[in-house]
Symmetry: C2
Subunit: 327 residues, 2 copies
């Protein structure tokens, strides 16, 4: 079988590839959890994650590959309940890449790392033939405080499902730039440190958290349903999508449920904490449009969407390509 762009979508094809090759060959139980960070015993508990970034173009409205790679890795650590601490960065540069661009990207990484409170402590640079492209891998280490146990398998009946803001901004911004469409949509690319800290500090019982990236909300909530053995029910009306992105999706036939974001998280929290959690996120940077969008119910391991006209439909994970090279 040959690799296709669909294997990079973050949806069904990606998880099939991981399941049939990487997970199978590597055989470490922590990989089967399919969380974004592995939480590991060490001196204390550490969280460890990795992500490669191949977004094109590398500069896009609202961000660049540098800000993206730091946010992506910081957010993955945060979602496991860890306090992000250290990042490594591995550059794979195509011949002909501009050092001026590289400097801008490095500066953007540095600024974002400062904002997120992490240190970039190790790096590597390789050069391959090509036409000036830039790929960056960032791996991250965080420390997990005692007593934290956050994971998709912990969703339970009655939990509220929260989203930290509007869906689809990053996807629409990158796609607009690539297609030369003029609009004012900008990527949501951001580190979510402040909102997660606010929830933790106010004592919200967070059962599961995930940043909503490649594959979109539909794919993440299918993972929640599958891991926890529950049904997730969403209210379509409550899903926050900006008017511009609604228009963009309407014209191009896109579904915000499968669009990638780079500064949004979804969480399952104890029902009694839901309003407080939303208030914490709304008071934080990047969280002004947070909302409760559904809840966890008993039933099959599926994601259900209740439509405004009283319908209910099953929402699967992303199949096929999605937008190639969105992150």
């Amino acid at each position: 079988m040959k690799i296709t762009m669909a294997h990079g979508s973050g949806g069904k094809s990606t998880s099939d590839l991981i399941g049939t090759i990487f997970e199978k060959e590597f055989g470490d139980p922590v990989l089967s959890k399919m969380e974004d960070s592995a939480v590991l015993p060490g001196a204390g508990r550490i969280a460890l994650t990795t992500d490669s970034f191949v977004v094109t173009p590398v500069f896009f409205p609202g961000g660049d590959i540098g800000r993206l790679c730091v946010c992506g890795t910081v957010n993955d650590l945060l979602m496991s309940g860890a306090v992000p601490k250290y990042l490594t960065c591995g550059f794979i540069l195509e011949e002909g890449a501009e050092t001026d661009d590289l400097r801008k990207i490095a500066r953007s990484m540095s600024e974002t790392a400062k904002e997120a409170g992490v240190r970039i402590v190790a790096g590597d640079t390789k050069v391959v033939e090509g036409s000036g492209g830039v790929y960056i891998n960032t791996a991250g280490v965080g420390f997990v405080p005692d007593g934290i146990d956050i994971g998709a398998e912990n969703c339970r009946e009655g939990d509220a499902i929260l989203i930290s803001g509007n869906l689809g901004d990053h996807h629409a911004a990158v796609m607009s730039r690539r297609m030369g469409i003029e609009n004012t949509i900008v990527s949501d690319c951001a580190p979510l440190v402040e909102m997660v800290n606010a929830m933790k500090q106010s004592g919200v019982h967070i059962h599961a958290m995930r940043d909503v990236t490649r594959g979109g909300l539909g794919t993440v909530l299918n993972e929640f349903a599958s891991s926890s053995g529950c049904t997730i029910e969403l209210e379509e009306e409550s899903l926050p999508v900006s008017e511009q992105v609604r228009g963009f999706c309407g014209v191009l036939g896109l579904d915000p449920l499968y669009m990638g974001n780079e500064g949004k998280m979804v969480a399952a929290v104890a029902a009694e904490d839901a309003e407080r959690a939303v208030a914490c996120i709304r008071a934080s940077r990047y969280g002004e449009n947070a909302a409760v969008i559904g809840h966890v119910a008993t039933g099959e391991r599926i994601l259900l969407l209740k439509t405004p006209i009283g319908g209910t439909r099953v929402v699967g994970p992303l199949y096929g390509e999605g937008l190639p090279r969105i992150c």
Copy 2:
């Protein structure tokens, strides 16, 4: 300025790029140490490293990109004095890559990780356009025992310089395969856990260690000289190079001092421990040709090579390209 293949050589151009862009923009003091792993305070001390692998072809005599990426990262952790524990892997696949090849690579990673005693605990997969290429980033975490302080800056006058075996095998194997030259040279690609543990357990005072990869021994020992403020003197006669590689170098005009290896280390150890250290390495897997090859002297920060006919020449770090995509 545009990126050229020389920026990926591991020599002077690579360190210029890192110095003028990445180190400058990221500004973390631990980066300026230019060691292969950052040793960081945490709960205890952890070592953190990253490496991307872009070798072509991905299968070569004596190994493949999978074995290579695990060895490279494990060895980088070992060289900082850490006990390697966890690896992450980020795959960047070009469209058209064969899943059968990917399975072989994953199996090779898994087997090498087992041999080295590390766990692969997190991963990521991206797909880009292209023609079936495979890039892998591996980041690694290790724990650094109390009392360990190994670094290029710790070389001191009188220290013996040891090499763990023959120079140039990986370079010659990859180059032979790429050029279609038939010979029996195989890559030395190997994890150096056993020899490092043996030295530690026998109480050898290791001041500096480095695996000899891209850029070769000449580049590594220039870094030792530069960081420690000493002169390193090598005896050319004592450098172990197999007969086949000697022949290969003779024909192609290559210098083993600048050839990449993937299972060799160089160390500066206290003079009184030198013979014991060599005995430890020789008794270990992959260490049968270990030798003392020189010593640390006072003087300028340079690397000197004493030739068999009584000459002395200054050996600089690698300039220019080296062999592109050797690792």
